[in-house]
Amino acid sequence: MNKLPMPEQLVIPMAQHAGPPAAPTVSTGDHVTCGQMIGRAADPGSVAVHASGSGIVTGIDQRLVPAGSGLIRSLCAIIATDPPERQPESPQCLDWPEDVSAQLEAIRDAGMTGLGGAAFPTATKLGSERRCEILILNGAECEPYISCDDMLMREHAASVLQGAAIMLELLQAERCIVAIERDKSMALEAITAAAQTQGDNRVIVVAVPTVYPAGGERQLVESLLGVEVPSGRYPIDIGVVCQNVGTAHALAELATAGRPLVTRIVTMTGHGLLEPQNVEAPIGAPISNLIAHCGGLTPDAAQLILGGNMMGYALPSDDFPVTKSTNCVIALGSSEAWMGGEEWPCIRCGECASACPARLLPQELLLAGRADRFEAMQTLGLEDCIECGCCDLVCPSHIPLTSRLRTMKTKLASYREHEAIAAAAQTRYAEHIAREDRAAAEERKRRTELTARLDGDDTSRRTAIEAAIARANTRRKRREDME
């Protein structure tokens, strides 16, 4: 594996995972060593952040950094790294406890997140209280250009399976399926051989078809187990946990060598890059360094994509750090890039529907979106869109469907919010009216009773009047006394 030399500066974001960002534990001027915790898991849904190189913290600043689905603002530790000769061989060692519940804590403190791209905290996924029966290790690359998982399985097969064994213990699951795409024969061989050596009969290796988006979590569950993850729920709801093979490897590194998550493998590819390759890079390394390490850009480089070409997003420049979720950087050549172009009306050919892995009808959703028909968007399953981009690829009218559907999702969410507010207001108003009605009814009842009592006979009426006069006198007297 090709390792990126330690860059002169590291920009390490506190928000690199799904969930609340870590809280910085160092301040400007501090010297940190590689592997030292610099951000504490602020809450159970958060994970720690570590220095991926030794050096001096020159600032804790807000920066625009890449996250799962776009650029976000995050507090970052900026580290001016020590010269290469003063960089340690391996990061500071962490303890790996024997006790299972302490292990979850250790995983969080070692900064473990899913390395497939979504960066979900690993401890949260492994520590779910719901019963898990099957662990799926996802070695099916989620997108065409990406090959970091393939590389990792070839070079660290034993370690991946070791990680799987740890996960199985933590989850108390009976079975682990390692899913690898059929065309990755070397990875398949490596993992199969490692599985035989380890002789763990809970682990089986399965070759899955190389059809995008086969590596998507929901699609993988369907193709491996023949069951679907219910809409709006997670695999754990049907007793399944999916983990990326890279995460398993990182976990094994933690358990055997006490290594926190300070590096990751990044696929550097595209016709716009001179020497495409997989590179192991420290978290926080500038993407510009990675590009330079890969021979730089060709004059033909037209666009920079973070993540795969189907679901990744375009970067305005190469001045961004590698984070735990950075699985791929593509420098698209002008022949690969698509800047949009002439768009024709939808001709309802239904190619999008045939290509949709969620079995949606994007052509109908498009119409519902144009007319803001929110009910229709819902019944047509807008929220089940996984944004894989297949519909865009096959649309002969060149309609940016995925992007339109994403916009519609936002609109639908804000419509729902407004609906909820309106519904709450309506309920409040109805309750208010009901209260007033109740009060009025009670008042009427009281008066009716009073009238009935007064109408009864002369004696009681006289008694009532006298009582009222007496009350009035007492009141007046009290008032006079007060004055």
Binding site: R218, E228, V229, P230, S231, G232, R233, L297, A302, Q303, L304, I305, N309, M310, M311, G312, Y313, A314, L315, P316, S317, I330, L332, A337, W338, M339, G340, E342, W344, P345, C346, I347, R348, C349, G350, E351, A353, S354, P357, A358, R359, L360, L361, Q363, E364, L380, G381, D384, E387, G389, D392, L393, V394, P396, S397, H398, P400, T402, S403, R406
Partner: protein
Amino acid sequence: MQFPLTPAPHIRPLNSVPALMRNVVLALVPGLAVYIWSFGWGIAVNVAVAVAVATGTEAVFMRLRRRDFRPALHDGSAIVTGVLLALALPPLLPWWVPALAAISAIVLGKQLYGGLGANLFNPAMVGYVIVLISFPAEMIQWVAPLGTGLTTGDLGLADHLVYSLAGTLPDGFSIDAVTQATPLDVIKLGLDNMRTIEEIRVGPLFSGFAGAGWQATNIAIALGGIYLLYRGIIRWQIPTAVLVGMLIPATLLFLADTSRFPSPAFHLLGGATLLGAFFIATDPVTAAGTDRGRLIYGAGIGALTYAIRTWGGYPDGFAFAVLLMNASVPIIDRYTQPRIYGHD
């Protein structure tokens, strides 16, 4: 260095509307060639008139709707409409029939709904039906095919042009001499006069399964359709369902009484069955949009065509069957929405 930002996915689309339309026209070339060989140059004149008028009308209406007319012309859909119209019309016609059909197709069938993609009915079939109902006399003048002795094979392209523009044939030809009813017409008329199929099916008009010229042309058209299937431009559901929808009743009734019902092969190879199954019913805009819906839609067209041919007032019913099923598409689509991943 700054890079441009575009939304995902970052990949070139595999196909385009103009490429689809080009392929449809290309797939019609063998059918057109055999048609010209069998029935003379009339179809060529009609294709030219219909395509020119359809394209011109499209441009004019895009301007009237204050929209850029260039993309509408570039997409090639008006050309496809023109060619399909010409294939549906009889070959020997005065120019204004294909012209009116093309105007009706583009204006009433397409632009009034909002242009490409917005129309409910197949534009070519709207245009065809309007002239069929408006000019019944002109619409039954079918040229006799090659090999029937009554051929226009002696008429050149120039003669056809002159007839189209001026309405006159060269000396020695008369419209009655070069035209005659189609096999479907003859069968219908014969059956209405209580004759049996055997009695009706005599003479060179009925050579082969469905009449020499028609049979050859329709087989060539089907080959074009198979090309479209192979290229993935149309899907198998609609053509298959149309043919099955027609062949099931045709076979059952043929087996029940061969003297009163023409053979399934006659229905398959005669009239507009194959052109319709591969090129007309498959118009994406007006067809059902779900896989199950496409089966229902196609089967409906096949069965209705058979019903109109057998019991209706017109010898061929494909156009009416398509329009009726077009009208049913919204409800078909509504009830055939596929089960979404993760839903019950």
